[in-house]
C-alpha cells in the first residue's frame, strides 16, 4: 500500500490560522505541490500579501517576504530582476491585487515580469472583517455595502483575468475554482503550468482562483462552496484566457 496523497513537503506541520473550510488552505497546498513537483522550494521566494494570507510565511518551507498591502507585484519585480535565477511568486487576495494594488499588478503584467501570481478571489476583504472588494458581486451584502453592492455607487465586480489577458505582456492567464475535486485538480494543473512558464522564462503567469470566505459570507463551508458555484462561476467564467506557446 502506497501513500498516494500526503501533505506536500513544501508546507510544514503547523495548524493554519484560516477559518474552517476556507479555501485559502487549498490554494496553499496547490502552490506547495508545484514547488515540490519542480523541486524548487530551495530557490523560491514567495511574496505574501496583506490579507488573510499574510501569515503564509508560517507555513511554507520556502523563503517568504511580507509586502505592503497591494505591492507584491512590485516587490516580486524587485526580487526577480535582481535574482533572475530564483523562482518568485506572489500570493494575493482580491483587495490586495484588484483594489489597492491594481497599478502594480497591471504594470508587472505589462512588463511581462517573469513571475507567477496566485490570485485568491473570494469577493470580499477577509482579513479586515468582510468589507466590499472590487470583486464583490452585485447585490452582495458586505459590511461596507450593507444594502448590497450597487452598480450605481459601487461599480461593477472587476474581472482581473480577462483584463490582464488583454495585455501583451502576459503569457499565461487563467481562472480556476476551488469548489470541487475536479476543479481543484484543474487548478493544480494551472498552478503547475504557471510555475513551469516561469521556469522556462516565458514571462508573467497568473492564476485566479475563485475561493470562499465562509466567515464573512456568513455561511457554513459547504454553503459557501455552493455560493461559489452558483454565483461566482457564472460571473467569473473559468478557463484559460491567454497562453503563449513555449518556443
Amino acid at each position: 500500500m502506497k501513500k498516494v496523497f500526503a501533505r506536500p513537503e513544501s508546507i510544514n506541520d503547523e495548524i493554519m490560522h484560516y477559518c474552517a473550510g476556507c479555501t485559502h488552505g487549498i490554494a496553499h497546498r496547490l502552490v506547495a505541490e508545484a514547488l515540490d513537483h519542480y523541486g524548487i522550494t530551495g530557490k523560491t521566494v514567495g511574496v505574501a500579501p496583506v490579507g488573510c494570507a499574510v501569515l503564509m510565511y508560517d507555513y511554507f518551507e520556502c523563503d517568504i517576504l511580507e509586502a505592503p498591502h497591494g505591492r507584491p507585484p512590485a516587490v516580486a519585480t524587485g526580487i526577480k530582476r535582481s535574482r533572475p535565477d530564483m523562482i518568485v511568486f506572489s500570493y494575493q487576495g482580491d483587495g490586495d491585487l484588484a483594489s489597492i494594488g491594481l497599478a502594480e499588478i497591471v504594470h508587472a503584467a505589462n512588463r511581462g515580469e517573469n513571475i507567477t501570481v496566485i490570485f485568491v478571489n473570494n469577493t470580499v476583504y477577509g482579513m479586515t472583517g468582510g468589507q466590499m472588494a472590487p470583486t464583490t458581486l452585485l447585490g452582495q451584502q458586505t459590511t461596507t455595502s450593507p444594502y448590497g453592492r450597487n452598480l450605481n455607487t459601487d461599480g461593477y465586480p472587476i474581472r482581473m483575468a480577462e483584463m490582464l489577458a488583454t495585455l501583451e505582456g502576459t503569457s499565461y492567464v487563467t481562472r480556476v475554482a476551488l469548489d470541487k475535486p475536479a476543479n481543484v485538480l484543474r487548478a493544480r494543473k494551472a498552478v503547475f503550468k504557471a510555475f513551469d512558464m516561469q521556469l522556462k522564462n516565458m514571462g508573467f503567469s497568473f492564476v485566479e482562483m475563485l475561493s470562499t470566505c465562509p466567515t464573512n459570507w456568513g455561511m457554513s463551508p459547504t454553503e459557501a462552496i455552493t455560493r461559489l458555484q452558483e454565483e461566482l462561476i457564472p460571473y467569473f467564467p473559468l478557463g484559460v484566457f491567454k497562453e503563449k506557446e513555449v518556443v
Partner: protein
C-alpha cells in the same frame, strides 16, 4: 585613471556614479525633476555592467522594488524628489520594520504640494523624524558638495547594509544640478554575505522577513531592539563638519546647501573681524547631539540657517545647553538665502558693525513679515 584625476560632474550624476561604485547594479525609479539625471544615467550605464534599470510605474512601486531586491540580499536604490518621496513613506516604514537595507535619495524641491522645482530643505522633518508611521529612523546623510553627493551615496550603502536599515541621502535641487570637480573612489568591497537574506532555503530552514508581529509583546520587543540599534547608530555614526569654531562667539548651524552658503558668510564675517564659526551636521540622523551640546557649553549664541521655515532648528534647540540662545534665518518655497543675507543676520550679534548694502530677502521686499526670529530658548 589616477585617483587624483578630477572630473567636472553634475551632482545628480555624481550620485549615480557613487552608487555604482558602491556596487549597486539595480536601480528602480520614477522620473521627477530635479533628479531625472539619476534614472537617465542608470538606464544608460547599468545595462553595460550587467545590472538592471527598471522604470517603475510610480514611486510607490519603486520603493517596493527596492524592498524586494534588498530582501534577497542585493544592493539597490531609488531616487526621487519631494512629492515622490512622500509616496514612499509606507514602504520606508516597512523597510525599517523589516530591517531591510536600501538607499533612497531625495533631491528636495520646494513644496508643499506640487510647489516648484527649485531647491529647498523643506523635507528635513520628513527625513529625520519619520514621515512614515511608527517609531523608526532612517539613516540620513546631508551632502553639501558634489563630491559628497558621490561619497555619501557610497556611504549610505555601507551604513545601510551595516545596520540593516534604509538610508537616505538628503540632497536638494542646487546640489543635484550644480557641477563641481570630483575625485572618483575605488570600487567598494563586496558587502559581507547577508545571513538574513531570502536567497533560497536550500540547505537551511526557510526564512521570512516581515514587520507583522502579533504575539503578545513581540512587536514591543522588536521595537526595543530597533531602538537599541538606533542607539548604536547614534553612538558610532555621527558625522559633522566644523569651520572656525575654536574661538567662535557665535555659531552658525546649517546643513547641505545652506551650510555652504553660510560658510561664505562666515568667511566674510571673519574677514570683518567677527568671531563666527560654522557647525555642519553631515549626518542629520544620527544628529550630532553631543558635539552640539559640547559647543554650547562655551558658545551661547547660535544662528540656524535653513532653506525652510525652521526644521533642523528644533534639533539645534533640543541639543544646546539651556541657556544658549538660538535664532533662525530661513527661506522656504524655493527661496535660497544668499551669503549676504546670512551675513546681515550675523552682524546683528555685532551691533558695532555697519549694515551691509545687501538686497533684502524676498519676504522683506514683498512687505511680508519674516518668519519670526525665534526667541531664546526657554524664555
Amino acid at each position: 585613471m589616477s585617483d587624483n584625476t578630477r572630473i567636472l560632474v553634475k551632482g545628480n550624476d555624481a550620485l549615480a556614479m557613487g552608487a555604482i561604485k558602491a556596487g549597486c547594479k539595480h536601480y528602480f525609479g520614477y522620473p521627477i525633476t530635479p533628479q531625472n539625471e539619476v534614472p537617465e544615467f542608470m538606464s544608460r550605464e547599468l545595462p553595460k555592467i550587467g545590472g538592471e534599470f527598471v522604470q517603475a510605474e510610480s514611486e510607490l512601486a519603486a520603493i517596493n522594488m527596492v524592498l524586494g531586491a534588498s530582501a534577497v540580499g542585493i544592493r539597490s536604490m531609488t531616487s526621487s524628489s519631494s512629492p515622490g518621496i512622500s509616496l514612499m513613506q509606507e514602504g520606508l516604514s516597512y523597510m525599517a520594520g523589516q530591517e531591510l537595507p536600501g538607499v533612497v535619495i531625495n533631491v528636495v524641491r520646494c513644496g508643499p504640494g506640487l510647489g516648484g522645482i527649485a531647491a529647498s530643505q523643506g523635507d528635513y522633518f520628513q527625513a529625520v523624524k519619520g514621515g512614515g508611521h511608527g517609531d523608526y529612523h532612517l539613516i540620513v546623510l546631508a551632502p553639501s558638495s558634489v563630491q559628497e553627493m558621490y561619497d555619501h551615496t557610497m556611504l549610505a550603502f555601507e551604513l545601510s547594509d551595516k545596520y540593516r536599515n534604509p538610508a537616505m541621502v538628503l540632497a536638494d535641487a542646487v546640489l543635484g544640478q550644480m557641477q563641481e570637480p570630483i575625485v572618483e573612489r575605488e570600487q567598494a568591497p563586496e558587502p559581507p554575505p547577508k545571513m538574513w537574506a531570502l536567497d533560497g532555503a536550500d540547505g537551511r530552514p526557510a526564512r521570512h522577513l516581515k514587520s507583522l508581529l502579533l504575539k503578545e509583546g513581540e512587536l514591543e520587543a522588536h521595537n526595543m531592539l530597533l531602538q537599541e540599534k538606533y542607539r548604536e547608530i547614534e553612538k558610532h555614526e555621527v558625522r559633522f563638519d566644523e569651520y572656525r569654531i575654536e574661538d567662535a562667539e557665535l555659531v552658525v548651524a546649517a546643513f547641505g546647501t545652506a551650510a555652504r552658503i553660510a560658510k561664505t558668510a562666515v568667511g566674510q564675517a571673519r574677514k570683518e573681524g567677527m568671531k563666527v564659526g560654522l557647525f555642519r551636521p553631515v549626518t542629520v540622523y544620527p544628529y550630532p547631539k553631543k558635539r552640539l551640546a559640547g559647543i554650547s557649553e562655551r558658545v551661547k549664541d547660535f544662528l540656524v540657517v535653513e532653506m525652510n521655515t525652521g526644521q533642523m532648528l528644533e534639533d539645534v534647540k533640543l541639543n544646546v545647553a539651556g541657556d544658549a540662545q538660538v535664532s533662525f534665518y530661513g527661506r522656504p518655497g524655493g527661496g535660497i538665502p544668499t551669503p549676504n543675507e546670512v551675513l546681515k543676520r550675523i552682524r546683528k550679534y555685532y551691533p558695532g558693525q555697519a549694515e551691509s548694502n545687501v538686497q533684502s530677502p524676498l519676504w522683506q521686499t514683498q512687505g511680508r513679515q519674516s518668519p519670526k526670529l525665534e526667541n531664546k530658548r526657554g524664555t
